[in-house]
């Protein structure tokens, strides 16, 4: 069977429940694009699929693409694949848009991946720390990073057993070159299982609430080759700056302003060299272990190299 026939058969299979269309018809459309208009087969397939989606009044998520396959997260290296995964919900993040019901990080023994669950899919809520079998999720890619999207056809099954989550740990040595907004003394939503950071006293989920203070740093550690975004939780922030949560609250109280804490921290850390170790979550490194690099650096090996060039 030729490539085009195979793709035609796949597409036909996807739509057989929804449309009265023959394999030949699908193949004709593909052939026209591929042979006459020199469109690559993948793009042709996409285009033809879209045509039938429109005809059937369906969304891309509503059709299964010839059965999904069980994979480990680390195996995901292509967008638009339909896969089944068994994962633990490591973290839930604040959705930045009403169209997203939940967003966060999933993990399995092979690694971690970001997930998005659309509001319109009307799926049950995933709990942080919960272990699930997710069937029919779609992979996606953005700037070289992969994620999975849950959709209307996704089957969520909660599992009783725990799974070990493998993490990709990073070790970075570099200078702290910037501190991002949302650092310093912040307030989090006190609702059960909600730790969203409040914006002007409001939680995006629970509205106006009496927030609970927390201390954190979102910093950039830069080694001259890459800029790494690093998150320091309360413990790591206290260890790094010597400022405790209690002291931070007092400082803010005295100044009648919480931003004084961030200013103080920035003065302390920017321009300083650190070694940071910790797991990688998406684009962030979570600082588990931080050392200030205050021992003198040795110029001699480089001097030898420079002289011999």
């Amino acid at each position: 069977m030729s490539d085009v026939s195979q793709h035609a058969a796949d597409i036909h299979e996807q739509f057989s429940d929804h449309l009265d269309v023959s394999v030949d018809d699908v193949e004709d459309r593909l052939t026209t694009l591929v042979d006459e208009y020199k469109v690559p087969i993948e793009e042709a397939r996409r285009s033809v699929t879209n045509h039938y989606l429109e005809q059937a009044g369906l969304e891309r998520e509503d059709i299964a693409s010839g059965g999904s396959e069980s994979v480990e997260l680390a195996e995901i290296d292509e967008p638009e694949q339909w896969v089944d995964v068994t994962v633990k919900v490591i973290e839930l993040w604040d959705p930045r848009s009403d169209s997203v019901a939940q967003v966060g990080l999933l993990g399995d023994p092979s690694g971690t991946i970001k997930f998005t669950k659309w509001a319109k899919s009307e799926l049950p809520t995933l709990d942080e720390g919960g272990v699930y079998r997710l069937e029919n999720v779609v992979t996606d890619e953005y700037q070289g990073r992969y994620s999975v999207k849950l959709n209307k056809t996704t089957v969520i099954e909660e599992l009783d057993d725990d799974i070990e989550v493998g993490t990709d740990t990073s070790e970075i040595e570099g200078a702290m070159v910037a501190m991002q907004s949302g650092s310093g003394l912040i307030k989090r939503c006190p609702e059960d299982d909600c730790t969203r950071v409040l914006q002007n006293g409001r939680c995006s989920e629970h509205g106006e609430v009496e927030g609970e203070f927390d201390l954190r740093i979102k910093g950039v550690v830069d080694d001259g080759i890459d800029a790494h975004e690093v998150i320091f939780d309360q413990e790591a922030t206290e260890a790094l700056t010597g400022i405790t949560l209690e002291e931070a609250k007092e400082m803010a109280m005295d100044a009648l302003d919480t931003t004084i804490v961030a200013d103080e921290i920035a003065d302390e850390i920017i321009g300083t060299y650190y070694r940071v170790e910790g797991p990688t979550f998406g684009r962030y490194v979570l600082a588990d272990d931080v050392t200030e690099l205050d021992e003198p650096a040795d110029p001699d090996p480089l001097l030898i190299r420079a002289r011999s060039m």
Partner: protein
């Protein structure tokens, strides 16, 4: 999640002597908001720089409003950092600093062309912080290493290009190629600057 957040520009390590020669600037796309890069003579692009040195002098050179200039000296030369009303934190540090002091500057390269046809390169700081001597020495060693890496990549590209057998297999190093086209000074100058910078650390050690 904005695209800008995802692709934060790295802060290059470059000595003052090379930085001040980076007079050629360019963009990678026609987009108005596309980032500006200075072309480093050793063959890389720099949208942002991290520099550590001795702040030896500060001066308010502004006419109507404050405009602070700081001279930040490393073993090879002097960085000029300018901060005005749009860099209030950096301007405040320069206003209050008591030179000489070690400072770390994170900033963007900027070029200025006076009427005499020359081009001056300066730093527009995002932040300036007071640091200690260990940090400054670490920066010299780190900057030496990054500079040697660039020089090595430049020389590898040159060697391949000049190799008659190499033909079309020459490795691409578009910034080395651009630097060769835009600048006259050979990369050997920057290797010498690295040696000089590292030797200055060794001398300090010997006299300590």
């Amino acid at each position: 999640m904005s695209q800008a957040e995802l692709s934060r520009e790295v802060a290059r390590r470059v000595f003052a002597s090379e930085f001040n020669d980076a007079t050629y600037t360019f963009k990678e796309s026609d987009d108005e908001r596309a980032p500006n890069y200075a072309l480093l003579p050793t063959g890389d692009r720099a949208n942002r720089v991290f520099a550590v040195g001795t702040l030896t002098e500060t001066e308010d050179v502004g006419d109507d409003s404050e405009y602070w200039r700081g001279r930040v000296v490393d073993p090879t030369g002097t960085f000029f950092a300018y901060a005005g009303q749009y860099q209030p934190e950096a301007a405040a540090v320069l206003r209050e600093a008591e030179a000489p002091e070690y400072v770390a500057v994170v900033g963007k390269p900027r070029t200025y062309e006076p009427d005499d046809g020359s081009v001056t390169v300066s730093l527009r700081p995002e932040s300036i912080s007071i640091v200690d001597e260990t940090t400054r020495d670490r920066w010299v060693v780190e900057t030496a290493e990054r500079t040697l890496d660039r020089i090595e990549a430049f020389q590898a590209w040159e060697a391949e290009r000049d190799d008659p057998e190499g033909g079309s297999t020459a490795p691409t190093n578009e910034y080395a190629q651009l630097a060769r086209e835009e600048y006259d000074s050979p990369v050997e100058n920057y290797r010498q600057a690295v040696v000089q910078a590292l030797e200055s650390l060794d001398e300090l050690e010997a006299t300590a």
